[in-house]
């Protein structure tokens, strides 16, 4: 690191990166153009929350990667049949309630659209907040459509639809422990449902922030991050459905 050649003291501007100024910082930090960390600046908080979400999606991905690899391994695994003394494959493809799953998919994708509207609506409101406080300034008719509430309703509809799908599976004799394939159907759809429920709770928290009169910008951060999470959940659902349909 340090070299042993004589150093020449020289005043440098405070924003200098010293001897490493040939190396750009990898991400964030280290530059002078941004507000200090920990400042009340909402832009910094939003960026930090989005970064946190991006990091948080990694273990969720890993969880489902692990489930997928278990699925594929288990699917190809032969098992010993004591009645015939032979090695057989015991993987019975589950008859999925495909139509119901497709309807649920549409509901979830629709909710992804509505949460995007909710996210943009709040972003606009935050941006216009300072202008609105100027007396005599009118912004025309800003949409008050309850996108957030609609998203929560659609999310609950999706979970209800999933519940119906599980009931449907059970009525046709596919329970959690019936066979390896049905275990995985419940595991993957159930795992997804639990994560989506987390998103609904976050949206309810954003709704509670209205009641508790928290700053608009705080609500915006919750909704923004949850919206990205929600889109991820929609993608994850499409992946799970494709896995269950096409890799039966």
């Amino acid at each position: 690191m340090a070299s042993f050649t004589p150093t020449i003291p020289a005043p440098r501007p405070a924003t200098s990166r010293g001897r490493h100024d040939d190396l750009p910082p990898v991400l964030g930090g280290g530059d002078g153009g941004r507000p200090d960390p920990g400042s009340p600046d909402y832009g910094a908080r939003l960026r930090r929350a989005r970064l946190g979400l991006a990091v948080a999606l990694t273990p969720i991905t890993m969880l489902f990667v692990a489930f997928t690899s278990a699925y594929i391994v288990r699917q190809g695994l032969p098992t010993f049949d004591p009645h015939t003394n032979t090695v057989v494959h015991d993987w019975i493809p589950v008859q999925l309630p495909t139509l119901l799953f497709l309807i649920n998919t549409c509901v979830l994708l629709l909710s992804s659209v509505t949460i995007e509207y909710a996210r943009r609506q709040l972003a606009r409101q935050v941006a216009l907040e300072p202008v609105q406080s100027i007396p005599g300034v009118s912004l025309g008719t800003e949409s008050k459509f309850p996108w957030l509430a609609l998203t929560i309703v659609l999310g609950l509809c999706f979970l209800g639809g999933q519940w119906l799908a599980w009931r449907d599976l059970a009525s046709r004799g596919f329970y959690v422990a019936t066979g390896p394939s049905s275990s995985f159907v419940y595991l993957l759809t159930g795992g997804h449902a639990v994560h989506l429920l987390g998103g609904i709770i976050a949206l309810l928290a954003a709704g509670a922030a209205v009641v508790l009169n928290r700053p608009l910008a705080s609500r915006r951060i919750i909704v923004d991050v949850t919206a990205w999470y929600w889109h991820f959940m929609a993608l994850l659902w499409i992946y799970i459905l494709a896995l269950l349909e096409f890799a039966r």
Binding site: M1, T58, L63, R74, P180
Partner: protein
């Protein structure tokens, strides 16, 4: 999503907000540290019981009574689990990482303080659930810290495999969630909260090690969580992920078609990176301390970072070397073997650089330095047996012998613990504002170094001589009789080593209240934690935001007024 506003909060006043449900990363770090301190004594006590039982199998212990074979297996399980999860994962990362990562990068707190608090209290819940396994019907589980199926997947497979094993799995799952929250916080903090001028390449190696450890945890703990969920389903819902067709006590289990190997794959995909989660922070601390106490810049700073990154990357490609015995295609075994031995390269780079840092340094043999040198010593002695076990042809005879515990205790157990000790002695003045007693620290160091070598070095020999692992009694086996003398010696060494830790704890608590007052920078070190008050104020820098001008290890810079240049000192132009 949570806790955006806590940076602006004033220092909390009430006891509960200040010391129990604190949002301050320093208090949370101390909470993690003391949780690990209680855990290490529980784990050490269990290992002492095992060592005593091995040489006096018929001894009736006061209060505990006779140790039955199943009790011995539950001691093995709980010792391993508590040490790996609640000491080696918790203390270096949760404890010191939480306390010093924000200070060393010049941040007022972690990125998400509420998440940080939740992470600690979730860990605490996991710890309580884990300890509860001792006190349920049937006692603690028998399946070892690796929880191999089918033993771990059937309620009826042994005395501890009922409720005790369920509690064990639940505790591990809760711990995964806690670690994921922690890792998320560490990564976001490192990327987003660095002070002005603190580029990634100016971070102390400790910060790099916590950052890389957090990435490993982020990728690994999700997989362990998934494995735990599947195991709980097999045990309680009747699925067959890990359970093949089989009988137990003459009864059909009702499961069929699952694969115990699937558990091993999922577990070791987590388990091997976990080894590096335990040791990487120790490497960071050793680098920091060796540089400071040699009064020299760390030799090959960037090589150190790249070595840690490649150890982390390779760590995800070698899990199969734990499974040579489980049956695997020779081609896969070959690939895993080559990958494993490749880890020797970055490890050797690190060792070379540590020795290069010491070379021609003006070494100050103070207690943190002793432990850092001890770390290097143990890292080499423990690491050298790694390439043996990486080869299937050698691993197969050695796998279920005492050779393996000898290997991983030296490198993952004792070396990582020496990292924790070095960190404790190094940062104690900053954390508590007082100095630890140097004489007691030296006694502690030499007793621990010699003691642990006396316990774990002979294990390699015992393994080569054929002494199996996890056997509760060795005295009944004729061919092991010549080894009993050595086993007795190891037990005495273990007793001495445990006693030496009482010196450490006395020193810790005595110095906390009675030690001489420490200055702000007692070791004449350069990183940011030494620029602030001792102990640091609530927002770490007392309202200031540090601006960084220099690299982390600018010691003995020619032309500088002192033999060290703080990171915040005005910039000097040094030639490349």
């Amino acid at each position: 999503m949570v806790a955006q506003e806590s940076h602006q909060h004033a220092a909390p006043q009430g006891f509960i907000r200040k010391w129990v449900f604190s949002l301050d990363h320093k208090v949370i770090g101390l909470q993690y540290y003391f949780l690990a301190l209680t855990a290490v004594f529980v784990g050490m006590f269990l290992s002492l019981l095992m060592r005593i039982h091995l040489i006096w199998p018929t001894a009736i212990l006061p209060l505990l009574g006779e140790i039955k074979p199943e009790t011995y297996l539950s001691l093995v399980t709980m010792h391993g689990t508590i040490m790996v999860f609640f000491v080696l994962t918790t203390a270096p990362q949760g404890g010191f990482g939480n306390y010093f990562l924000p200070i060393q990068i010049g941040a007022p707190d972690m990125a998400f303080p509420v998440l940080n608090m939740l992470s600690f209290w979730t860990t605490f819940v996991a710890y309580v659930v884990m300890l509860a396994a001792f006190f349920v019907v049937g006692g603690a589980p028998l399946h070892g810290w690796t929880g191999y199926a089918p033993l771990s997947a059937l309620q009826s497979s042994g005395p501890g495999e009922g409720l005790g094993a369920d509690l064990w799995i639940i505790s591990i799952a809760v711990f995964c969630v806690a670690s994921l929250m922690g890792a998320l916080n560490f990564i976001t903090t490192t990327l987003d909260m660095r002070a002005k001028g603190m580029s990634m390449w100016r971070m102390p190696l400790t910060c790099w090690s916590w950052f890389i450890t957090a990435i490993l945890g982020l990728l690994a703990f999700g997989v362990l969580l998934s494995a735990g969920i599947l195991l709980l389903m097999d045990r309680n819902i009747g699925t067959s992920f890990f359970l093949p067709l089989g009988t137990i006590n003459g009864q059909m289990t009702g499961h069929k078609g699952g694969s115990p190997l699937l558990w091993q794959h999922l577990f070791w995909f987590f388990g091997h990176p976990e080894v590096y989660i335990a040791i990487l922070p120790g490497m960071g601390v050793a680098s920091q301390v060796l540089s400071t106490f040699s009064r020299k810049p760390i030799f090959g700073y960037k090589a150190m970072v790249y070595a840690m990154l490649s150890i982390g990357l390779l760590g995800f490609m070698v899990w199969g070397h734990h499974m040579f015995m489980s049956g695997m295609s020779p081609y896969s075994a070959f690939a895993f073997s080559i990958m494993t031995m490749a880890i020797g390269v970055p490890s050797a780079i690190k060792t070379f650089n540590w020795l290069g840092t010491l070379h021609k340094g003006r070494i100050r043999f103070q207690s943190p330095m002793l432990f850092a040198i001890g770390f290097v010593s143990l890292f080499v002695s423990g690491g050298l047996s790694g390439p043996f076990l990486a080869q299937p042809a050698l691993d197969i005879p050695l796998h279920d012998t005492a050779f393996v515990p000898g290997h991983f205790h030296l490198i993952m157990g004792v070396a990582a613990i020496f990292g924790i000790f070095a960190a404790t002695y190094y940062w104690f003045p900053k954390m508590f504002g007082r100095m630890m007693n140097e004489k007691l620290a030296r006694i502690h160091f030499f007793l621990t170094l010699i003691g642990t070598y006396c316990v774990f070095m002979p294990m390699h020999y015992l393994g080569l001589a054929g002494q199996p692992r996890r056997y509760s009694q060795l005295t009944e086996l004729q061919y092991l009789h010549p080894l009993i003398g050595l086993n007795t010696f190891m037990t005495y060494a273990a007793i001495v080593t445990v006693a030496a830790q009482l010196i450490f704890v006395s020193n810790l608590f005595w110095s906390m209240f009675k030690g001489p007052k420490a200055s702000d920078n007692p070791w004449e070190a350069t990183t940011l934690e030494w620029t602030t008050a001792t102990p640091p104020p609530h927002d770490n820098f007392g309202g200031r935001t540090p601006v960084v001008h220099n690299g982390p290890y600018e010691y003995s810079v020619p032309g500088a007024p002192r033999d060290y240049v703080m990171q915040t000192d005005p910039a000097t132009v040094a030639a490349h």
